[in-house]
């Protein structure tokens, strides 16, 4: 084991190899966090629609979830990057391929976001459906409209219930972000590979990458646990013994 290569001047770009690692971490975090913002907001809307009593709201959400959840992420990445620009009108395709800034990066963010949104939607739906029906009925009987019932009764509880499975989804998006390397985003895994090619220090650099991924995911796990603790409702799931 010899980690001195981190401090050696990198082949290109003017820095040392440690700078490549840092840049990899930066792109991993950017792709994952932006992807998560899309996934969480879209997934929440889709999840609510999935439980709607109105069929023409439910149907499109169901179709979306089934399509995006069932196609492998790697295939989706290729479709967005290589196929979509060829089937849209030529001026749009040209823009997607060359004119838009950082096409690989935004492709990866959107693809990861859309894919994870389908998974978040399912968590939100299961959270809402795990609340006894009586609560919806009671809310409506008190004169709340259906949207108000969602806003004040169902969603506040549903989001609390699904914090543990959402933690898993949030962790998964960091790990899935490495798929972005297939379309040329130089995130952490791609940089680790590149450094291993230039320095032949394969074991060392992948040990470093592993530790960084573990640190990122442990941070997420602990923050979500803190959030769960902060948000709990005394007398309800896990909050009964409240200190």
């Amino acid at each position: 084991m010899d980690f001195s290569f981190l401090n050696q001047p990198a082949f290109s770009g003017g820095g040392v190899y440690l700078d490549w690692v840092i840049s990899g971490v930066k792109w991993t975090l950017l792709v994952s966090v932006l992807g998560w913002i899309i996934a969480f907001s879209m997934g929440s809307v889709l999840g609510v629609l999935r439980t709607s009593p109105v069929w023409w709201l439910r149907a499109p959400a169901t179709v979306y979830v089934e399509i995006f959840r069932n196609i492998p992420l790697l295939v989706q990445m290729f479709i967005w990057y290589f196929v979509v620009p060829e089937i849209v009108p030529k001026f749009m395709g040209d823009w997607l391929k060359t004119k838009m800034p950082m096409p690989e990066f935004w492709n990866a963010v959107l693809c990861l976001g859309f894919y994870t949104a389908s998974r978040v939607a399912e968590q939100v739906r299961s959270g809402i459906q795990s609340i006894p029906r009586g609560q919806t009925n009671a809310a409506l009987a008190m004169g709340l409209t259906l949207p108000q019932a969602y806003r004040h009764v169902l969603l506040p509880m549903a989001y609390r219930i699904i914090i543990p499975p959402m933690t898993t989804e949030f962790l998964t998006i960091f790990k899935n972000s490495s798929v972005a390397l297939t379309i040329g985003v130089l995130e952490l895994t791609a940089q680790a590979r590149q450094i291993s090619e230039y320095t032949f220090r394969t074991f060392e650099i992948f040990i470093i990458a592993t530790i960084i991924y573990a640190l990122i995911t442990l941070t997420v796990t602990f923050s979500m646990r803190w959030l769960e603790h902060r948000a709990r409702v005394p007398g309800y799931i896990g909050g009964a013994s409240g200190k």
């Binding site: 082949f11 003017g14 391929k97 096409p103 032949f200």
Partner: protein, 305 residues
């Protein structure tokens, strides 16, 4: 307990005995004898060195030479049942897979460089080429300096990537590089317009252009950015195996058989689409065949730094 001890003793004795029986073999040859298999690493789109035909079988100039080496190994080990197993590798995976022992020979389009010689050994040079770029005819690119601020695709892990990046740093062209995992994917990026140029060994560019949908849409440009002598890769510090490989390759050179293999791949119709590359042997290659050597290119990407 006693039984276990004697079992261990028997095992050790057996190991010692079998070790003694083939004491003159070590390293790769011993591994081949023990497993009964010689593993050859090949590429999927290094036309015409190492690629897949319409039935997805590895073929090519390099593959033919490696099969000759396999024949020589078979003869030397007197193993009529020696099996040849093909393992696909990429520019990125070839060295770790070889040093890890999953292949015994890599037959592709690997540049012999001094830097790589720290990791692996090379058979005598069997092709001479260098880095050029392929662009679309209507792109308006006439040379390397026209690439300023443009997007260029590179196959990760290649010497061409290094040559292009070094040139970019030196001339401060501000090229935006996008990485791809193999030559087919890199060429796809040029074909679909994601990148304007793809730097690669010129012979591979000829091969890619020949298999493109509209070969006439592309031109191959530029002076050589780097020299790229190709060699078959094997593990380092294995003198016995290297001698066998070198002798076989040099034997092909001395007997003139190399000319037949060369003509078959570079000056005749080749699968999968029956194209003829029409690429006569360069003077540099004729020299390398006359004086077989495994000299690698230096850190600057040229034979003489």
């Amino acid at each position: 307990m006693k039984r276990i001890t004697s079992l261990f003793l028997a095992l050790f004795a057996g190991a010692a005995f079998s070790g003694a029986a083939v004491a003159q073999e070590s390293g790769t040859l011993k591994k081949i004898r023990d497993t009964g298999v010689i593993k050859i690493g090949h590429r999927d789109a290094s036309i015409p060195f190492s690629y897949l035909d319409e039935k997805q079988r590895p073929i090519g100039y390099g593959v033919d030479i490696c099969l000759k080496i396999a024949d020589a190994v078979q003869a030397q080990l007197k193993m009529p049942n020696l099996k040849v197993e093909f393992v696909p590798v990429t520019s990125q995976t070839r060295i770790p897979i070889l040093t890890g022992g999953n292949i015994d020979l890599e037959c592709g389009s690997t540049t012999n460089s001094i830097e790589r010689q720290k990791q692996v050994a090379f058979a005598p040079t069997y092709f001479m080429t260098g880095t050029k770029i392929i662009v679309k005819k209507n792109s308006g690119i006439k040379g390397y300096d026209d690439l300023k601020g443009k997007t260029v695709v590179i196959t990760q892990g290649t010497t061409n990537e290094r040559a292009m990046k070094a040139y970019n740093d030196e001339k401060k062209l501000g090229i935006n590089f996008i990485p791809a995992k193999d030559h087919a994917e890199s060429f796809l990026a040029v074909e679909t317009g994601r990148a304007v140029a793809f730097p690669m060994d010129d012979i591979l560019l000829f091969g890619l252009r020949a298999s493109a949908r509209n070969p006439d849409d592309y031109v191959i440009l530029g002076e050589f950015l780097s020299d790229d002598p190709y060699g078959i890769m094997m593990r380092r510090d294995d003198a016995e195996f290297k001698k066998l490989v070198d002798d076989t390759v040099i034997g092909l050179y001395k007997s003139g058989e190399i000319n037949k293999i060369y003509t078959k791949w570079f000056q005749s119709k080749i699968p999968p689409r029956g194209i003829n590359l029409n690429f006569p042997m360069s003077d540099a290659l004729k020299q390398a065949i006359k004086n077989p050597n495994d000299t690698g290119v230096g850190a600057c990407g040229k034979m003489k730094c």
